[in-house]
């Protein structure tokens, strides 16, 4: 019975390796687009191809990347989550407020992550048992969670420092999470992103849960017939998204120790969805890979970095990023059609 589902939706990592398969893989097109972009920027600017800049780009895309990993699960399962920017703000600011209130680091982070779990759970339940389209359920939650963050903070910035009450030891460890460098070279945010992406790749490619995510997104009806609890799988995908958005929010506050509920993470959901879709995930479900998402995140990050390095006008930058999203997805769809 499971094989019947597999025919409709199969994790790409399970494909047998060969050069022709590699060239036909969805990620190959995105990878070449990224490569062309990098080659162009290396020629057009002095500062792009330097270790400092490349590590900066790595750090700059890490939080977006962590959230895009979560979004990959949600999109593959055939849903979408618009509340991630608000979750990012709420969980990060809540954690910061607890640290300022004198809490230890682990309890504060656990509470922050639990807020992400709770938001993901509500999104999941509303979108499955509540029978609301996830677009509507999470649009409502976007507003509810943003409002909750504003109420929680009274619209005031949350600044995590000793003057506001944070313990020096807690602050040091917290800051290291966001500002530190592994072996003095690799930004900690990038380290977290790599670990999370690797774990997500294993889960999506080699576990029953990963298989079920593809199955419910490929055909919910077929998955249900196969004995898969579609609602449970989707709820878990939302919970995973909530936790990762919360973790990214916490890391954000650890990097820049001040945030404000009206600005932090505002509109971030669109960047996250755009990066995931550029990486090959489909809004109609059943398609997407972690590698593709990483490439999508890198394309967005490298574009932003490169346009600034080239001194392009800020207004033109917005236009170019929009164009790249449309072109990247357009090429992907075109090549998919060509492949039949």
């Amino acid at each position: 019975m499971a094989d019947a589902v597999r025919t409709g939706a199969r994790a790409p990592a399970m494909d047998r390796f060969s050069l022709s398969r590699l060239l036909r893989a969805r990620e190959t097109g995105v990878f070449f687009a990224l490569l062309v972009l990098c080659i162009f920027l290396s020629i057009a600017t002095d500062g792009f191809l330097t270790s400092l800049n490349l590590l900066n780009v790595g750090r700059q895309v890490s939080l977006l990347g962590i959230m895009a990993v979560g979004m990959t699960f949600v999109l593959i399962s055939g849903e979408v989550d618009l509340s991630v920017g608000s979750t990012y703000a709420f969980s990060g600011l809540a954690t910061g407020m607890l640290i300022i209130a004198g809490w230890g680091l682990m309890p504060a982070i656990c509470v922050g992550l639990l807020t992400g779990v709770a938001i993901g759970l509500i999104n999941g339940v509303l979108s499955t048992y509540g029978r609301l389209p996830s677009l509507i359920a999470t649009l409502g939650m976007l507003s509810i969670v943003r409002g909750a963050a504003l109420i929680l903070t009274n619209g005031q910035p949350v600044t995590v420092n000793i003057r506001n009450g944070a313990d020096a030891g807690v602050l040091e460890t917290f800051s290291y999470m966001g500002q530190g460098y592994l072996f003095g070279i690799v930004p900690m945010q990038l380290v977290f992103f790599i670990i999370i992406a690797a774990l997500a790749w294993i889960v999506l490619s080699y576990t029953n849960f990963g298989f079920r995510v593809f199955a419910v997104g490929g055909s919910a009806k077929a998955a249900r017939v196969s004995g898969i609890s579609v609602n449970t799988v989707k709820i878990w995908a939302f919970v995973l998204m909530g936790v990762l958005a919360a973790f990214a929010g916490i890391l954000s506050l650890a990097f820049l120790p001040s945030g404000q509920a009206g600005r932090t993470g505002l509109g971030l959901e669109l960047d996250v969805i755009a990066a995931t879709i550029v990486g090959g995930a489909s809004l109609s479900g059943g398609e997407g890979t972690i590698l593709g998402t990483i490439l999508g995140v890198l394309i967005i990050g490298v574009m932003r970095n490169g346009l600034v390095l080239m001194g392009v006008s800020p207004f033109v930058q917005e236009l170019m990023i929009g164009l790249v999203i449309i072109i990247a997805v357009g090429i992907d769809k075109w090549t998919m059609r060509k492949r039949g």
């Binding site: 600017t45 500062g47 330097t50 400092l52 800049n53 900066n56 700059q60 939080l63 943003r146 409002g147 504003l150 009274n154 619209g155 005031q156 910035p157 600044t159 420092n161 003057r163 506001n164 500002q179 954000s252 990097f255 820049l256 120790p257 001040s258 945030g259 404000q260 509920a261 009206g262 600005r263 932090t264 993470g265 505002l266 509109g267 971030l268 932003r304 970095n305 600034v308 390095l309 080239m310 001194g311 800020p314 207004f315 930058q317």
Partner: protein, 323 residues
């Protein structure tokens, strides 16, 4: 850091800004009959203060000023406005409340979009003043706040003084297309252009999210390693610029001048990573918005009110830190 020069610049800029006079006399204004009746009966007035984004950092300070003025002038003052800079939301809310309001103080999301509405409210016999962000194309009775072009000019002068008259400056803003940003940028560029040794390299549009802001500054500084001054036009790229200087140990090479007194900004001024910051006294602006309206409806002539600029450097930031 040349402390004397900074203090001198600070003293100069504490002088009142040059506002055009715009006396508005109650006798010239056709006040709505229901409002006249309310005043005659000695009933408390219902004033509305519409702020362009009630979720931003300054809203709580504005609101506190509004509450103080309501108490002092014995009126009901309601602090309203959209969450996020949403012009349609601001317009809809005011339209909905028009029948109830005895006076409106407004800081517009968009000066062009809100001007017709302001004129419509005035035509209904309801007095309107602007605060924080002016709407000079409308027929508003008076404006209370900072002259944005002038405050930008002060920031530019301060940057020029800090750099000793020579260097390369990058201007940063969280919204390059917003009217307040364009006004401040105009003033800043004018002041910097007066110094032949100073070149403005670019205006960097950073976006509003803290991570976005920091990343944009980081990328731009890598692209322009010869920049010696960062002039931020608002609250939020100021601490990001200071943080970049702090993390790159660049306080000797790159000077930062910005706006407002966020917690993080105060700390960075104290540590010498930001050379100066200009405060716009949001509580004072909120107070003035209600006070001007109450006075006008009760029969006093009102005029534009400059709420001034306060300049803080390492020498005087301690006053803020103590609070």
């Amino acid at each position: 850091m040349k402390a004397r020069q900074i203090i001198l610049a600070a003293a100069l800029s504490l002088l009142p800004l040059q506002f055009a006079h715009a006396d508005s006399k109650p006798a010239d204004f056709p006040l709505a009959e229901r409002i006249k009746a309310k005043v005659a009966a000695g009933q408390p007035l219902d004033l509305y203060v519409s702020y362009h984004d009630v979720s931003n950092e300054f809203a709580p300070f504005m609101k506190a000023g509004v509450a103080k003025a309501a108490e002092a002038d014995k009126v009901n003052a309601n602090f309203i406005g959209p969450v996020g800079a949403d012009a349609d939301g601001q317009i809809s809310e005011i339209e909905t409340l028009m029948g109830k309001m005895d006076g409106l103080a407004i800081s517009s999301v968009s000066t062009d979009a809100l001007a017709p509405l302001i004129d419509r409210v005035l035509a209904a016999g309801i007095p309107v003043v602007t605060f924080n962000t002016d709407n000079p194309d409308s027929k508003r009775l008076a404006f209370a706040g900072q002259d944005l072009v002038q405050s930008g000019r002060e920031a530019g002068k301060l940057m020029a003084t800090t750099l000793g008259g020579k260097g390369k400056v990058m201007i940063t803003t969280i919204d390059a297309a917003a009217q307040w940003s364009l006004d401040r940028e105009k003033g800043a560029r004018e002041a910097l252009a007066a110094e032949s040794g100073i070149e403005v390299v670019q205006t960097l549009n950073t976006g509003t999210d803290p991570q976005e802001i920091y990343s944009a500054i980081e990328n731009a500084m890598l692209a322009n390693p010869t920049v010696t001054g960062i002039l931020s036009l608002e609250c939020c790229s100021t601490p990001a610029a200071g943080t970049w200087v702090e993390r790159n140990n660049a306080a000797d090479k790159v000077k930062v001048v910005g706006f407002d007194l966020l917690d993080q900004t105060v700390g960075l001024v104290e540590s010498g990573n930001i050379q100066a910051t200009i405060d716009q006294a949001p509580e004072k602006q909120g107070f003035a918005a209600v006070d001007l309206l109450a006075k006008f409806i009760k029969g006093e002539t009102i005029d534009n009110l400059d709420t001034g600029v306060g300049i803080y450097t390492k020498e005087n930031i301690g006053e803020v830190a103590k609070k």
